[in-house]
Amino acid sequence: MKTGVIFELTRFATHDGAGLRSTLFLKGCPLSCPWCQNPEGIPPEPLLWHNPKVCLQCGRCVAVCPTGALTLTDRIHVNREACTCCGSCVDACPAAAMSISGQTVTAREAADMLLRDQVFFGPDGGVTLSGGEVLSQWQFAREVLDLCKQAGADTAVETCLLAPQSAVEAMLPVADHFLVDIKFMDPDLHRSCLGAENHQILENYQFLISRGADVLVRTPLIPGYTATEDNIRAIARYLHQTDPNVRYELLNFNPLCRSKYDALEEDYPVQGGALSAAEMDSFYDILVQEGISQIIKE
């Protein structure tokens, strides 16, 4: 049985597909979106997570760290080069301010975590795999979803589609729905901003459409990045050309993840907050102009 590395389970997920769902987040992503909501999900390997908001600053973690990776000044600082994620500090911390983000589990264990809330799924809810990037662990993902399907659960995958087509194809029999993120249409912008080309993404999207998969496309509206008229118009036009019946959702920017960057002692590059209703409406107007008929709103 395959094992995989996961970093979070969200139960009662209400925004990751239809109905009430459980969403499992897989580690590792080929993109490096500057606004990423789950920065701890980008690297494939485990990561020490320190939560300064609950830290008592007792210093027990510093004392037990075998590699001297921790220091206590105004707060606990983590030297990521030195940290081996051995977990000594996690055990020692009386406040549960230390945790390891990234846990290796078997596909069975992952499926059981997801299915634990099956009683809540109802007619249209189910399980969702998210990340990180699900397809970076596609063999594991396929096995997890297969087990969930066998148990009768509806299955969905949230993906940026940056993966070999074979990986996408492998998901077709086990995923009932694909929630596909398309961020930029312009290839140069995609490369310079996210660290990778988008042609593979678009090819995979066309592949999914050609195979009749149930696809919802989503674009996060990030001020200063994706939330421009040109970008949204270009994506909408492309989507409509590829699939005139495309279901398309614009996700308003949500600044809440900034607190994660604070915890990681990293700067968060996005300024400002969520788009106003009026701003959202002007983007919806663009979709209408480009002929998108199935605009999905929360």
Binding site: E8, T10, R11, F12, A13, T14, H15, D16, G19, L20, S22, F25, Q37, N38, N51, K53, V54, L56, C58, R60, C93, P94, A95, A96, R116, D117, V119, F120, G122, G125, S130, E158, R218, L251, N254, P255, L256, C257, R258, S259, D262, G273, K297, E298
Partner: protein, 785 residues
């Protein structure tokens, strides 16, 4: 049903807005008028059987109490001239009023204005007659010391007021009216002897008073009609005159008759909660009749809302201690909607939707609206109810037929009665019209019992030995030894509790027969026995086990840290508890953070809670109550988790000394359920709901944004259906407002589980930066407007 959409579109009638504003603006007074009448009546009837004395006192009250009608009212009746008056009721409690009268306007909870001359009259004319003779004084004289000795573990209730929490047979009242019931009592009178004869006579007296009360309203309304020409007053006069002599036939007559029933029950009993129960069922024939005879939906809604306002006009004057346990003057007019018919088919009808619409317009604390759901509840009903829940009044609260009906049946209730169950007071379960449930016999503080078990029976707040000395945490060599001692401690207090409750019941029988109430509880009229003598078909007594979450969390922490992992010594933990963690913040942090907590779907922890709740329920089975029925367990506290927490020193779940216990009844400790609502519900579902037939209470909190979209509403209904499948008896939803979120900023420990769900991940509110929290607060406030 096309009607559903029509009903949902009905606006709040102007008449209702006027009446509501006027009602809320009127100051609330404590009044002694009825006390004066009752005292005079008792003086004139000395030496007569108690039930006759009481019936005559009620009759005098009904004939003499000052009555008032608002010019715009369509449903009339009150037991005080002012609205929301606090009634001094000397038969049950005069001494506490004497002690607290001056403090009523300034006490922290449930204040009332007072007239100085009332205080004087009360002390000079009323108090002397009742001193030593009220229920309160008689109970104190008989069992005062016993009650005090166990008070920190067991709070004995019903010591200074009549027993309420009763769902009378309103259907019968509507079908017979006071004259029909009087005729029924008269038919038994001749063949009856002794006490039975007295009982029937007392019922007849009560019914004579009831008819006269209605006539008086008819007279006043007619007088006012002649002055004002207001058509509603003429209608009121006609209705009241008719009801005094014959049964109701139309919807407005049935509403008016229903309200008279509840006013008179309160005038006789002054008890916390007489509940109408399944009004959408027994009022439906009247509603249909009127609809067929040209009543519009608008008119039906306005009449309904007139009654809804009335439910808010009777409040309950409690002593200051009791007001802490049951804050907010609850008098608990619990109205149940939905549910099933006897054959298991869904019982929802247009009235169910009208009642929800009335609630969405008024958003007042009464009636306490309860929605019965089952596995085939219509989606329309759940969606309509979810929208009303999202408006933030905490109503309707949700009861689950799939859990409640089996629980009732396993406690001796017939299938027919179980299918027709209702709710009384806050969350207490009852059959319809044939039970004296004595739902609040006592509250049993299992957390305090654990404290005594850990510390040689010594109360850590007073230093006094009040429990059994079975050792302490250092002398229990294994966790099992600790559990054995805990079981003995519970047994000891349960024995003593039952002795006290039995005594209280006897006092009620001797002092507080209730002929009017007994006339609308089956089988009292058939057997000639008052409810206090066990005349009801079902005779239960309910005891609340408090609080599963703190017991589970405390025992889990002790088991894991002291016995299994040995990260703490028994002495270290005892020292930390004794000093309220003063010099042991890290010990406390370990207790809180290093052991899983109830409410997170961690089976072994939840099972510790379930185990002791089970133990408690099974223990109660050994006893019989004073009316020959069984005891049953409840799992709810209403607001009592606060004062009951004040009785408990620092506990092993990391709770500081005298801090509140977990709220509700089966909720997790505040801030300790961090895995979301599904995990909480899975934990809760491990408790033995089939044994908690007295009622349970689960509080859940949601942000208002969840209810803003159709998708959100739909997902919420899916959650309700899962509650149904999980077999959880009750859940009530609080929609968080600005105040709650400000509190979460200030006290993050209590709100650890509060999450903001967005696509892609879930943010814990308390872990967000302050400016982000502020933004959510701003948006919550904005959206709530």
């Amino acid at each position: 049903m096309n009607q559903i959409k029509q009903i949902a579109a009905l606006p709040c009638p102007e008449r209702i807005q006027i009446l509501k504003e006027k009602m809320l603006a009127e100051p609330r007074y404590a009044t002694i008028e009825q006390a004066r009448i009752i005292t005079r009546s008792y003086q004139a009837t000395e030496g007569q059987p108690r039930c006759i004395q009481r019936a005559r006192a009620l009759k005098a009250s009904l004939e003499e109490i000052t009555i008032r009608i608002e010019p715009d009212e369509r449903i009339v009746g009150n037991r005080t001239p002012g609205v929301r008056g606090g009634v001094v009721f000397p038969e049950t409690g005069a001494s506490w009023v004497d002690r607290e009268f001056e403090t009523l306007p300034t006490r922290p909870q449930d204040q009332f204005q007072v007239h100085q001359e009332d205080i004087r009259e009360f002390r000079e004319e009323i108090l002397p007659y009742w001193k030593g003779h009220s229920l309160e004084d008689k109970v104190r004289e008989a069992i005062g010391p016993q009650v005090d000795e166990i008070a920190k573990v067991v709070k004995i209730n019903q010591k200074d007021h009549s027993q309420g929490h009763i769902c009378p047979n309103t259907k019968k009242w509507l079908q017979l009216g006071p004259s029909g019931i009087r005729a029924e009592a008269e038919s038994h009178l001749e063949s009856s002897r002794g006490k039975n004869h007295d009982f029937y006579e007392s019922v007849i007296l009560a019914m004579e008073g009831a008819s006269r009360f209605m006539e008086r309203y008819a007279e006043l309304a007619w007088e006012m009609y002649q002055e004002t020409g207001k058509e509603n007053l003429a209608q009121v006069a006609r209705t009241c005159r008719k009801l005094a002599v014959s049964p109701a036939e139309t919807y407005d007559e049935a509403l008016q008759a229903t309200w008279f029933l509840y006013v008179i029950l309160q005038m006789e009993g002054n008890a916390s909660s007489f509940s109408p129960g399944r009004m959408d069922q027994y009022l439906y024939p009247y509603y249909q009749a009127s609809r067929e005879n040209s009543m519009t939906l608008e008119d039906a809604l306005e009449l309904t809302e007139c009654l809804w306002l009335k439910f808010n006009q009777l409040v309950y004057l409690r002593n200051s201690n009791s007001a802490k346990y049951f804050a907010g003057f609850p008098i608990g007019f619990n109205v149940a909607i939905g549910g099933q018919n006897l054959d298991g088919s869904d019982a929802t009808n247009e009235l169910s939707y009208l009642f929800l619409q009335a609630q969405s317009h008024l958003l007042l604390p009464q009636p306490n609206l309860s929605l019965r759901i089952h596995k085939n509840s219509p989606q329309d009903l759940l969606e309509t109810a979810s929208r009303v829940i999202g408006m933030g009044s905490g109503m309707p609260q949700v009861f689950n037929d799939e859990a409640v009906i089996p629980a009732l049946k396993s406690h001796g209730v017939s299938h027919e009665d179980a299918m027709n169950y209702a709710i009384v007071g806050c969350v207490e379960l009852t059959t319809h019209g044939n039970a004296l449930g004595w739902s609040d016999a006592a509250m049993f503080n299992l957390v305090k019992a654990l404290e005594l078990t850990l510390h040689n029976g010594v109360d850590q707040l007073t230093g006094q030995k009040t429990g059994l000395d079975l050792g302490n945490l250092t002398t229990y060599k294994t966790f099992e030894e600790l559990e054995e001692a805990y079981a003995k401690q519970i047994d000891y207090f349960m024995d003593r509790m039952v002795e006290c409750v039995t005594q209280v019941e006897k006092m009620h029988e001797a002092l507080l027969p209730t002929p009017f109430l007994s006339s609308v509880i089956d089988d009292c009229l058939a057997t000639g026995r008052d409810v206090t003598q066990g005349g009801a078909h079902y005779n239960f007594a309910g005891v609340q086990a408090i609080q599963a979450a703190n017991v589970a969390d405390s025992l889990a922490a002790i088991k894991a840290l002291v016995y299994d992992e040995k990260k703490l010594t028994a002495q270290e933990l005892l020292d930390a508890l004794k000093t309220n963690f003063e010099n042991a913040p890290l010990v406390r942090s370990m207790l809180v953070n290093k052991v899983p907590k109830y409410g997170n779907d961690i089976e072994w922890v939840d099972q510790l809670g379930a185990k002791w709740v089970n133990y408690f329920a099974d223990g109660l089975k050994k006893y019989r109550n004073g009316r020959g029925g069984i005891y049953q367990m409840g799992l709810y506290t209403v607001s009592a988790h606060v004062p009951m927490g004040q009785n408990v020193a620092a506990s092993a779940d990391g709770r500081y000394s005298q801090e509140p216990l977990a709220d509700g009844g089966v909720s997790a400790m505040a801030g300790r359920d961090t895995h979301g609502p599904t995990a909480l519900l899975q934990s809760v579902a491990r408790l033995p709901f089939e044994k908690a037939s007295n009622g349970t209470l689960l509080n859940m909190k949601f942000l208002p944004r969840f209810f803003k979209t159709d998708t959100g509403i739909f997902k919420f209904t899916q959650l309700l259906r899962a509650v149904c499948r999980l077999g959880i008896s009750h859940v009530q939803f609080n929609v968080l407002n600005e105040e709650d979120l400000l509190a979460a900023q200030k006290y993050p420990d209590r709100y650890r589980g509060l999450t903001v769900r967005v696509a892609g991940y879930t943010a814990y509110f308390t872990e967000l930066a302050k400016d982000l929290q502020d933004e959510i607060i701003a948006r919550t406030t904005y959206e709530a407007v």
